[in-house]
Symmetry: C2
């Protein structure tokens, strides 16, 4: 159990690290940000920063010496970096979680091994394997690189007639996974935490709407049947326990509506071993934010309450959306968050705005 005044090392310096650092500061925890980038949103709110490559062992060693625990804001931390740090200081969530989530094929196999439904999938090592996979899973289906995809990057939807060999080459000829298309009614996510003691607490399930493969809006509650919401929490708990997880994790799922009972079915799409964009509403809309919850968990502290203050809608401010800040500042009930990014670029997450409306029973 860390004491207040302890230093949290955070790999990555983007908006997630920035909001983690602020949540830590509220609790009297200092943050030390490690990032290869010279200018990062989190640098404005941290006690210390290291600008160095993730492969720079000298810098990593000094970083490890200066912190009490290490966490990360993104799942693509190089395995060697995580292992190097884990030999020196606790890394939470543990590096094994990175191995499970950096590779879509390993992740899906792990989820299935827990008896949790995923889309059907196939290992696609080469163009020949792709042809066989398409023959089995049919179309539409989605070809994704096993590693390093996000926000729709590294994936292609296969409709009828696509040239398979060309599609495989378009993704760089790297190891891929083919996933059957899931005809979902809603995309949902659950953001949950597990403490060092094994306590588990989930925020209410959110509904997410993506535009151009980037999260546009999160609404909570998601309007699920109570048993479906309970099942979502149960899925997150199973995953967290199987991975001996400590911190916040998010599980993105598809909700399928069907005629026969149960009328709602959940299919896991992806695990994010970190605080998640669909949990940003918790800053303004829940008694503990996902960022504070993560800091509590990795500090070995008890988890906070996850009670909602009301119905919450979070809208991402992507690219030029952020130039609406003047207008948003005047909107009733709008909580504006800007990430301090100097340059507006298309598709870039510049900030978000949360609206919380008290619920009438």
């Amino acid at each position: 159990m860390l004491e207040p005044g302890a230093t949290i090392g955070i790999l990555g310096g983007g908006q997630l690290a920035r909001m983690l650092a602020m949540a830590g500061a509220r609790l009297g925890l200092k943050s030390h940000i490690f990032s290869p980038a010279a200018s990062e949103p989190a640098f404005d709110v941290c006690a210390a920063r290291t600008i160095a490559a993730y492969e720079d062992q000298d810098a990593l060693g000094k970083f490890a010496d200066s912190v009490d625990v290490v966490t990360y804001e993104f799942e693509n931390v190089p395995a060697a970096t995580a292992d190097f740090l884990a030999a020196r200081k606790p890394v939470r969530p543990n590096p094994r979680v990175l191995a499970l989530t950096q590779d879509r094929l390993i992740e899906k196999r792990f989820v299935q091994s827990l008896g949790i439904e995923t889309a059907e999938f196939a290992d696609v090592a080469d163009a020949g394997a792709l042809a066989r996979a398409v023959a089995r899973l049919g179309r539409p289906s989605i070809l994704k690189t096993r590693r390093l995809g996000y926000d729709g990057k590294g994936q292609i939807m296969l409709q009828g007639g696509a040239d398979l060999a060309a599609t495989f080459r378009a993704l760089g000829g790297v190891p891929c996974i083919l996933e059957s298309f899931v005809p979902f009614a809603k995309e949902i996510s659950i953001v949950a935490a597990r403490s060092l003691d094994g306590e588990f607490r989930a925020f209410d399930v959110c509904e997410n709407v993506h535009e151009h493969h980037i999260l546009a809006t999160t609404t909570v509650p998601a309007g699920l049947a109570p048993e479906t919401a309970a099942q979502a929490a149960d899925i997150a708990r199973k995953i967290a326990e199987a991975a001996d997880y400590v911190g916040i994790l998010a599980v993105e799922m598809f909700l399928i509506e069907q005629q026969s009972a149960p009328t709602e079915r959940l299919v896991v799409n992806e695990i994010a071993p970190r605080v998640h964009n669909s949990g940003h509403w918790t800053i303004d809309g829940a008694s503990t934010s996902q960022f504070e919850q993560h800091m509590r968990a990795i500090a070995g502290w008890p988890l906070g309450e996850t009670r909602r203050h009301g119905r919450a809608v979070m809208k991402n401010l992507i690219g030029e959306d952020a130039s609406r800040w003047r207008e948003i500042l005047r909107e009733k009930g709008a909580c504006l968050h800007l990430y301090g990014k100097t340059e507006i670029r298309p598709g870039r997450k510049m900030g978000h705005v949360t609206y919380v409306v008290p619920e009438t029973k």
Copy 2:
């Protein structure tokens, strides 16, 4: 009107500056902290810091060059410092406000000039003046230094029989003010903001309980008659308008209960030209925090909503109280704030905890 990405210069680096910097960061504003102290709570959450004396014009000049607007977390900013900076960048609230609030005698005269009631008072330049003042105001009464008092420092209660010359010497023989003792039913405060456009918004009136002259607990709402609460807001508005104030100000008042109508009467005790300890509950209990409200005002932005989420109680964690952090982390509904101060000292404000309970109508 500043743009996001602008830099706010803050004089002082304590917990108020720390919470201001975090509120600014949420809105995409950077903070540059200026303080003579080598280690400060706000240094952990700011984009830039200057450690230099308030008289160091070279450092002040560079600081002014690097920021877009200057504000302060304490009213005892030396006048020369404020004037030096105001010649280079906007200082908000304006330096005239400092002159009005650094000297209890000037402050009380200013308040009275607005037709607002204060305790009776007398200018005490020397021991002879003290004897005359006591003859006029009677006992109990309170002798205070005109300048630089806080948290009960620089004041002595005069009961019957006290040796007046010795009491005057005990405060250092400096210019003083004698105030008649106000037999209050409650101590209250109002925290309010005025924008660059002259818009005025007040948070709900709080009741404050002091222990050993240090704020112990703030409770909101204060349970006043509606017309008394309206009068409190009106007092704050008059003061803000007369001072051409921009930012958050707090007005501490005594509530007197009396037999004849009106049964509640307000007497102004003190003006704080800054965010105030009795406004800390707004971080967790109001739609906009006092810190965000201050940052909005000094950035030339519109003010945010001041709606309460419920009934709020804020308890300061003074000295050893802070060692209760483990316990507080487990308390239902407790929002813990620690200021990152490394050393616990008696009387030192180490943090606070806020409890917000939804109100049933």
